[in-house]
């Protein structure tokens, strides 16, 4: 029973890490469409790090480092040059997919290989260090956003940046900090997919998890604990549908595969009223001169 719960948590964790970071980012008005690319880049380099050093911990750090680098590129374009966040994020996704695929083929051959690398060491009922850190990070994100002065300013930047600037804070600085948090957690999510869940890598192995994470932020109404709950719920339904498929009930696989997303849509329709979204989400900030 406990092992089944831990298994569920593990399956949902990559999205949960990324969604927690994305919650912090979106609260500051930064929508990270490049989340998928950051996760994929992190997954590849985490795998490579674990393969070459034999240490999954080092691999995970490599993944976070790569995601932070991509985050810095994104921040340069969106904050310094005030380029549209969606455009930069999309470019980042394409870049990460091309880069990881090219590097993968250069290293593992044109026709590919099934890869197996050391996974994070597990203890107890299948727990590992990153999985234990997940709830801690969610609590830290909630505390930081809602119980600190920094969090108040950050949320302000997501709602009405001009007011926060008038109060003496730097808008770009706060958004940069939010991007750093978001990228690091995206890296943790991608790295965990490669080293915590699978111990492997395949081209495009994130398979849309970055976009699911963005959806989970809306689903969880921009509150870290609710976002985590949303990730767990969707992860649970996703693993439940595999149980249903294996039982052979005669329901078409396509319907079952869509089940978690149908559920997310239904919940959004039910609870999605009102304007919980940060007002300045995805709006580039230009100081008026």
């Amino acid at each position: 029973m406990i092992e089944a719960l831990v298994g569920l948590l593990r399956f949902a964790a990559p999205v949960a890490f990324a969604a927690t970071g994305e919650t912090v980012g979106q609260r500051a008005g930064v929508i990270n469409i490049g989340l998928e690319g950051m996760m994929l880049g992190a997954a590849y380099f985490a795998m490579l790090g674990s393969l070459t050093t034999g240490s999954p911990a080092v691999g995970l750090l490599c993944g976070v480092g790569v995601a932070l680098t991509l985050g810095a590129v994104q921040a340069y374009f969106t904050l310094r040059l005030a380029v549209d966040q969606i455009v930069v994020g999309t470019a980042l996704n394409l870049f990460a997919l091309g880069l990881t695929s090219t590097l993968y083929r250069a290293r593992f051959g044109g026709s590919g290989q099934l890869i197996s690398v050391p996974r994070l060491p597990q203890f107890g009922p299948g727990l590992d260090a990153a999985l234990v850190a997940l709830p801690v990070l969610v609590v830290a994100a909630a505390w930081g956003l809602f119980r600190t002065k920094w969090g108040l300013a950050l949320r302000g930047v997501g709602e009405y940046p001009a007011a926060v600037e008038a109060a003496g804070y730097g808008v770009a600085r706060l958004r940069f900090q939010a991007t750093v948090v978001g990228s690091a957690l995206a890296g943790l999510g991608g790295g965990y997919l490669a080293l915590g869940v699978t111990g492997s890598f395949a081209e495009n192995m994130t398979a849309g998890r970055g976009f699911v994470a963005i959806a989970m932020v809306t689903f969880g109404r921009w509150r870290p604990a609710w976002v985590l709950a949303a990730c767990l719920l969707v992860g649970w339904v996703d693993s439940l549908q595999y149980e249903l498929q294996a039982r052979g009930l005669g329901i078409p696989a396509q319907i079952l595969i869509a089940l978690p997303y149908v559920l997310a849509l239904v919940v959004l329709v039910a609870v999605g009223k009102g304007t919980a979204a940060p007002a300045a989400l995805a709006v580039p900030y230009r100081r008026e001169r």
Partner: protein, 335 residues
């Protein structure tokens, strides 16, 4: 602003006039408009990345064999849905003599595009349509899956088997049917479940689907998950189950749970096809490449021979001989 836009439009139209006009004449005029035979060129279109260590990878190896053995100039790209016709046309316009589309979904577009390019041959891996310069090679992987089903049923202790697929497509369904038929032939009443993740690259989903199936009591699993197959093998290892490899020989997988593999040996078939196109003897039609042609094989993993109950290997060998001799017909869907 408006003036700039006007200039831009004029320029764009001029460019379209130059390139589009030229292209148009190539598509509609006589065969002679295609570039003359400046070296033998072969192209490959795949539904997934050629680095998937499975279905598309196998075709890529076939293409590399064509390059090596016939000295052909080769090129490949991933093309799905609406991209297929465009990719076929542009290869034909560039003078490619053979365009291989690796999947049944390339058959219809190939036959259609072939009408406009009589000097190019369009061949798909499975599919039913054909003409003088278009056709299909149907790999009968079902025969390998049938034997795997027999072996799985005779090895299983729980009487439950699982099949894990990526996308739910007719070609994968057909191999799963054959696996099930083989299992039922060897052990009537055996339970065989199928699960699909919908994706070829999602290792975590393949792993989760496998864990769920093994959780229902299955102890032997086969896959059609291509690049995500490691998730299937690792889940089997975690639960103490056994697995079968598919498409390529995956017996040496580091998980150490692959009992045997149902393999497509595509290289000789691809080289023979390219040779017939090169010397002009290609006639079109749908060609079945199966076990008796050496295109399909079922390969045991010697390292796990001790996990196979006595007598099973001999029974599989007998069935293999029967299939080759045409005495045992394995069900295959037409699509």
């Amino acid at each position: 602003m408006t003036k700039g836009f006007l200039w831009f439009t004029v320029l764009a139209l001029a460019l379209v006039g130059c390139t589009g006009g030229g292209g148009g004449s190539t598509t509609t005029s006589s065969p002679a408009a295609q570039p003359a035979d400046a070296g033998f060129k072969v192209a490959l279109l795949t539904p997934g990345p050629v680095s998937d260590a499975g279905w598309s990878a196998m075709a890529y190896r076939g293409l590399q064999a064509i390059e090596k053995e016939l000295g052909a100039e080769v090129n490949n790209q991933q093309a799905t849905d609406a991209q297929i016709r465009d990719a076929m046309r542009s290869y034909a316009q560039k003078g490619y003599r053979l365009v291989i589309g690796h999947g049944f979904e390339y058959n219809g577009p190939g036959v259609e595009v072939a009408k406009d390019f009589p000097n190019t041959v369009f061949v798909s891996s499975s599919g039913a349509g054909s003409s003088a310069n278009a056709g299909a090679i149907r790999f009968g992987l079902e025969e390998g899956f049938y034997l795997a089903g027999m072996a799985a049923a005779l090895t299983s202790k729980t009487g439950r088997l699982a099949m894990i697929g990526g996308p739910d497509v007719p070609s994968i369904r057909s191999t799963f049917k054959a696996f099930k038929a083989g299992a039922e032939a060897a052990k009537p009443g055996i339970q065989v479940s199928d699960s699909f993740t919908g994706k070829n690259d999602d290792i975590a989903a393949a792993r989760q689907a496998t864990l769920a199936a093994l959780g229902q009591g299955a102890d032997v699993v086969i896959h059609q998950a291509n690049a995500a197959a490691q998730g299937v093998f690792d889940a089997a290892k975690e639960k103490g189950a056994l697995a079968f490899g598919a498409n390529l020989d995956q017996n040496d997988n580091p998980s150490g749970v692959v009992l045997a593999s149902a393999v497509i040996v595509a290289e000789p078939a691809f080289v023979a096809l390219a040779r017939s196109v090169k010397d002009g003897s290609y006639k079109g039609g749908v060609q079945l490449m199966a076990m008796k042609d050496g295109a399909i094989d079922f390969v045991w993993n010697p390292a796990l021979a001790s996990r196979v109950p006595p007598g099973v290997a001999a029974r599989i060998d007998q069935a293999k001989a029967d299939i080759k001799a045409g005495k045992l017909a394995v069900p295959m869907d037409q699509f």
